[in-house]
Amino acid sequence: MILIAIIALGGIGVLSSGLLYLVSRKFEVYENPLIAEVQEVLPAANCGGCGYPGCSGFASACVNAQALDDLFCPVGGADVMKKVSVILGKEAGNAEPKVAVVRCNGNCEARPHTNQYNGVKNCAIASSLYGGETGCSYGCLGYGDCVKACGFGAIRINLSTGLPEVIEDKCTSCGACVKACPKNIIELRRKGPKSRRIFVSCVNKDKGGLARKACASACIGCSKCEKECPFEAISLSSNLAYIDYRKCRLCRKCVTVCPTQAIHELNFPPRKETN
């Protein structure tokens, strides 16, 4: 009796293992071992910020690429890219660290509501319906599509202003929020030395009067900052100033001349009293 059981069970075991072996041989997929090695050093956030579907997609792109110039992992930054370049023996491109910047400063006070939105609290849905609850049809809607898109908890809605704010330490500049924002308010900008940055916190393209009427802190396209800037970093198009962070030397002159305080400086030490 026992013998039969042993033979039967053993036979089934041998048979199945043989079958498993055959199947695994037949359906074996060859994968370059380097891909796994590269993937090992990647942050495994699978955010897609590099433009590839997840970290494994980026790893195989790195392995297959001639040079690493166009490939950059925004989450891991230069450190990770250096490791990748060591593994693959290819030169890593040198990209500067970036951070997401919310270019709207229309808080509840500056930008009074003119109507009441009663649909789903979702920016994409509201923006396909109309310009928004305020007179400014360019500004932040405040329903938090960027917050939902962020995989790192690096962006949250400030309850007192109703606007999203980026937590710099957590932001990996993967760009998910940039894609999620239907109003194209969020931009990836150079993080800057000691995280110091200057940017125009407005995307309103209306004429000055209209923009001002809708929002007290809107850029009115007065071009004062453009004239003030010693480095020609500021350009004006469709009533809106834009600071090119590649040219900006962080002198902060534009910040002082802006009549609506639409230009923001971040992480600077307080100014010395001049008068």
């Binding site: 003119t114 649909g119 789903v120 979702n122 994409a124 849905i125 396909s128 109309y130 310009g131 049809s137």
Partner: protein, 443 residues
Amino acid sequence: MLRTFRIGGTHPPENKLSAGKKVRVIEAPGQVVIPLRQHIGAPAQAVVKKGDRVKAGTLLARPAGLVSAGIHSSVSGKVNKIDEIVDMSGYKQPAVYIDTEGDEWEEAIDRSETLKKECTLSSSEIVRRISEAGIVGLGGATFPTQVKLMPPPGSRAELLIINGVECEPYLTSDHALMIEKGEQILTGVSILMKAIDVHKAVIGIESNKPDAIVYFRDMVRNFPGIDIMPLKVQYPQGGEKQLIDAVIRRQIKSGALPISVGAVVQNVGTAYAVYEAVQKNKPLIERIVTVTGKGLPEPSNFLVRIGTPIRRLIEAAGGIPGDTGKIIGGGPMMGKALVSADIPVTKGCSGVLLLPKQEALRKPACNCIRCAKCVSVCPMGLNPALLMNATEFANWEVAEKNYVVDCIECGSCNFICPANRPLLDYIRSGKGKVMELIRNRKS
């Protein structure tokens, strides 16, 4: 048994408060604002500039491209400025502001009331006149009419279906037009038949307009080839696909055009505009608008110039009630909530509806209880609950596989949902996203 479409459908309270009211004319206001984009497709390009003098019927902007429509002045006066205005789309659009002076019309326009039945123009000549008059589908879709009248190569129209359904609750503008301008509409239908070279036309009218049915049945004896078909009241029968199914019992395949079953559909309002354009040389510069709402002292049907601010219409109907919570351009099922009463009337505006605050606010949504009522009312045979979930969680593959792009945005699912779920909000956004993905895949 009256016919209707065969999948889904619902029957919201009709509330046709302004039914049977005679059309009243609203004189041209002191200033009109005429948006340059009153149709689906590219905005028209302005051909006037500040300070120009125009007459009623003068071309203000010419069509930009094939799918576009010209815009004409609805008053005589002086161009004040060309600027932007928030229109029914909810966004700023370029528009021509005209200060009214007198009421002078272009000489070529025949303003007499006499009926002109005979039309000796050729098919291409008719289409050209329709195109020149800036006519768009007046049922609400505002698709340029001449495009619909030029079937793609290889296909042939066999039947013209005229939409006299007016399935949206509250609205009565088409009904009023049918009662007052019956012969003109039928002449317009004959002209459209000639334009697409068919010998048969069917006018579908829902049975809640018995006076229109009787009147038209009586008149069609003088118009060979035109039939009247009373239809069971069912929303959204005014949808092109639903109307075709109701009238000729054929369903258009997903992604196909009505011409694939040999049908061309036009609205009664469009047929009337075609009559005026072809026989009277009059471009589309005025239309009938229903102004209605339970709190409104006098729900009415008005004949108004395009570009008149809707505030004037509401004043003519007795003024804005104090408890107004929502002003809707169009009907309650598919209309758009407006941000202000200063928005001008455009070609596609069939009605203005005022809802009191307590009716305007949505009730909070609860969990889906999978009662499948949305499935049973969907006129396209979709599963709205599934599509909403797919969109909410960005599951575009599932949404596409379950035909999200076929949604006609009729709102029946939202209307019926016992859990007050915002089904259409999500589905509409998912439809847009999936269409974008499909376009990207093709290019």
